[in-house]
Structure formats: C-alpha cells, structure tokens
C-alpha cells in the first residue's frame, strides 16, 4: 500500500492537525501506521538525539516504539544549506531517508509522511517535497489554508511540481476555513479544483480551541521569569487585555481566561487581577495570568500577594506594547501534553475529511 505524503501550500496551515486525525482514524480502522518526517527544519535535541519537533510530538502522542532517528532522518542545522550547495553530496542524504523508510516499512503496513512547507521546499538540498515523495513512492495530499482563488492557484502550483516528478496527488484539504464560509468554500473551491483535475477531500473549519495557548507556553516563548502561580501554568489564554489603563476601565475588558499585560508598577491593575482570580466571580470573567512588563518588579508585599493567590505572573523586560505585539503574532504548535487539542484535531479531521477516499479502499473497515 502506497504511503501517504502530507504536504502543504505553506507553513502553519495545519498539517499536524490533519496527521493527528489520520492516525486516529487509521487506528480506529485497525491499522497502526508509521510516521516519518524525512526533512526537519525545526528540530530539537533531547538526550543526544536530534529530531524534528513534529517527530518528537508524534513519537509522544502515538506512544511510538520507532526510533526517533528513523522518524526524522535528516535535520537541517544552521549553515547546512551553504555547505550542501558547495559540495552537493545528494546520495548521502537520500540514502539516510531511504534507510529510514525501509526500517519503518518493515514494521508498518502503512506510512504517513509529513512534508515541510510547500512542494518546492528543500529543492536547494535536492530534497524538495516532490523529490522526497517520489523517493518514498507515496501519494500526496496537499493541505491549504482557507480562501477561494488564491487557494486554487496555490494548490495547482504545488500539484504541478509533484506531477512533474511523477507523483500522484490524491487531492487537497482546506484547513482553518471560517465556519460561516465553509459551505461556500466547499462548493466553489471544490468546483474550481475539479475543473483543474484535483479532488477536494475536505474543508475543515477554523476552531479556536486549537490555537489558544497556555500561560506556560507564553512564558516559554517570552522567556519570562515566573514569580508566582507555577501550579496554574496550564491555564488557557482565550483573551488578552493590555492593562495600561485605569483599573475601572480595564475590568470592562476582562473576559473568559484573560491574560492581563501590564507594567510591573501598575499595582492597581495587579491587585484587580488578583481579586478577580480569588473571587472567580464567573467563568466568563476570569484571569488566566499576568505578564508584568518593563522589567518592573512590584513591591515585595505585592509579589507575596501574587504568590499566595496562586495567580501565574511572568516578569518580562520588554515594554507592554512589544509584549502584546509578540503575543498577537505567536503561533502555538500542538504539544504532546495538549490532549484536549489533539482530541479536537482528530474530531475535526474525522468529521470533515473524506477519509475513505484519502486512505484508499484497503484501509476501509
């Protein structure tokens, strides 16, 4: 059975969401697939093992017994591209990928392969998604974001590169589509792609539950010092408010699971946040945590109140504007510990993607 290569039209369109759903459905149908991300651009090193961060995620989520080196055979450190272009040792990298594929094929009837970015990413290393899909003799599904014309254009462009390498494109999935436009997009993009010979296999609506971070994730990205509330770092952040205004005005902006971003010397807003946290008046008016900006540490009596209240507070050196801009721009990938997000991703894919067609007749019950 041909492996399935999950590619995309760009970064952060939701390949991981689709892959998590595919795994859940395949397991439900009695086939436990193997996973590989042949080329990893964003990697971590844990206990001396270097692997792509998505490979670490899937290894943990799937409770996989496969070696991480097989799940992520090639990672790209800084300076690697320059060296490769000057030496161009094609065989070495391709052999590493082929060996990893062989090991996984020996253990699994079916493989899911995760690509990196659009079809052409990796061309500079002779490892574009199209080339790797060809090496793996895989069928491809292209995942794209929402839209109409541009989405059809991008999917078609990506499809052309795969087909120029003789790779079969099974179809496309649109992800993060505005729920109000889901039906219109399904109808028009479905027809537009069909006109060009591509099958639309699913339209997944945008689901906020997949994007909300926790206070701990924000703390990690901001590299802030946590001065209180270590036990509540898993608090979800659904809303943010910049507490650069008087407290009576700030309270009007407090909604469900709000992260308050305020200078560390705005004791008034800090005390209001503590009060909300302790009273927990209603769930729809709740504080998830505090980001104290400007490198200003509140008086030690206030730090003591924060610690006693258990409200998570992070100290950051940057000013309020910079921090709130950072948070707005942050992209939070699903982590192994985000069990609620993983369940949501699986639920969405199973509900909105034509998995029978995508997985082929043999994978059906």
């Amino acid at each position: 059975m041909k492996p399935l290569y999950v590619s995309a039209t760009g970064q952060n369109v939701g390949k991981t969401t689709v892959i998590l759903g595919l795994f859940a459905e395949m397991c439900r149908r009695g086939t436990r697939p193997g996973y590989i991300k042949p080329v990893g651009q964003r990697w971590n090193e844990v206990d001396g093992v270097r692997a792509d961060e998505d490979a670490f995620l899937l290894h943990d989520v799937l409770d996989s017994t496969d070696a991480l080196q097989s799940m992520s055979p090639v990672t790209i450190p800084q300076g690697f591209v320059d060296n490769y272009i000057m030496t161009r040792d094609q065989q070495h990298l391709q052999e590493k990928i082929c060996q990893a594929l062989e090991k996984l094929r020996a253990k699994h009837k079916y493989l899911i392969i995760e690509g990196t970015g659009h079809a052409g990413v990796g061309s500079c290393l002779d490892l574009s998604n199209a080339q790797v899909a060809k090496l793996a003799e895989a069928r491809v599904v292209i995942v794209s974001g929402g839209g109409i014309g541009s989405v059809i254009d991008e999917i078609t462009l990506n499809r052309c590169l795969f087909e120029s390498h003789g790779v079969e494109v099974a179809g496309a999935i649109l992800n993060k589509v505005h729920p109000d436009k889901q039906e219109r997009v399904r109808k028009i993009v479905g027809q537009g792609l069909a006109n060009l010979g591509t099958r639309l296999l699913g339209v997944i609506p945008f689901d906020r539950r997949l994007t909300v971070p926790t206070v701990g994730q924000i703390a990690t990205v901001l590299k802030g010092n946590i001065i209180s509330g270590q036990d509540l770092l898993d608090n979800r952040v659904d809303n943010t408010v910049v507490g650069a205004m008087e407290p009576q005005n700030m309270v009007r902006h407090i909604a469900e699971n709000t992260l308050v971003i305020t200078p560390g010397d705005r004791i008034d807003n800090i005390l209001v946040s503590i009060t909300y946290h302790l009273n927990r008046i209603q769930e729809k008016f709740s504080i998830a945590g505090l980001v104290l900006t400007g490198g200003l540490v509140p008086h030690f009596t206030v730090v003591d109140l924060l610690r006693r209240s258990g409200l998570p507070a992070l100290l950051c050196q940057e000013d309020t504007y910079t921090i709130s801009s950072y948070i707005r721009e942050m992209v939070f990938k699903i982590r192994a510990e985000d069990s609620d997000k993983i369940a949501t991703a699986q639920e969405l894919v199973i509900k909105y993607v034509d998995l029978d067609t995508l997985l082929g007749e043999k994978a059906k019950r």
């Binding site: 010092n225 001065i227 540490v297 008086h299 030690f300 009596t301 730090v303 003591d304 100290l315």
Partner: protein, 133 residues
Amino acid sequence: MYRVLYVEDDADAAAALAEYLRAAGLVAVLAGSGEQAIMMLDGGLPDGNIDLVITDLALPGIDGAELCRILRADQTHCHLPIILLTGVRQRMGIEISQADQTWLPADRILDKAVPPEDILTAVRELLEKAHPG
C-alpha cells in the same frame, strides 16, 4: 581589610550589627536608605571600595529588593555579594526565601532573627568566594 556596606533605616539595629562586624575585623559602613547606599556606591568612598552589601528588605523608598535589582543591573556593582536581611515574616507574615531569586537577586537571604554569628558566617563565605585565595 574587607569593607561591608550595611543598609538599614533602624539606627539601633544598624549600630549593633556594625559593632559586631567591626569586632570581627571588618570595616562596616552604614547607609540609612537604599538611595543613600546607591549614592555612596556610585560616588565612591574616600578610603576604598565596598566588598559586600548587607541590606534590610523593608526600607522606605528604594527597598532592599529593589536595591538588589539595581545593583545587579549595574555594570560596576553587579558582582558585589549581597546579603538580604528580612524581618517581614514576623511583622507581615511574608515568607521570603532563597527560592525567590527570580525577582530578588540576593546571594543570601537571612531572617533578621538569626544570631549575628550566622550573618558573619555568610559574610565570610561570600567574601571568600568573591576573593579566592
């Protein structure tokens, strides 16, 4: 002879510890507030620099916690060993410990109620670490 700057707004407490430190062979210099301590450190002292700072936590104006952070952020003074003395547990019920380093960057945090020998031991250990050999 090592020089210790003791920042304390309670004149009696300042005099008592200063006398103990002097008896132990150290030079004790007194500052009545965080602001005065910074002025003394920035302006330099006529007969030599300071080797270690002991500060009370609850000071009017710039308190001991802020003084620690100001010194740590200052290129000239960031290497000065700092001992923070607190009496806030008894007076205000506030627990401060060495675990509070993220916002309170003192080398040692001691309760004011500890015997002066413990403070002297901490002073000697930190001076030895700062001036090995």
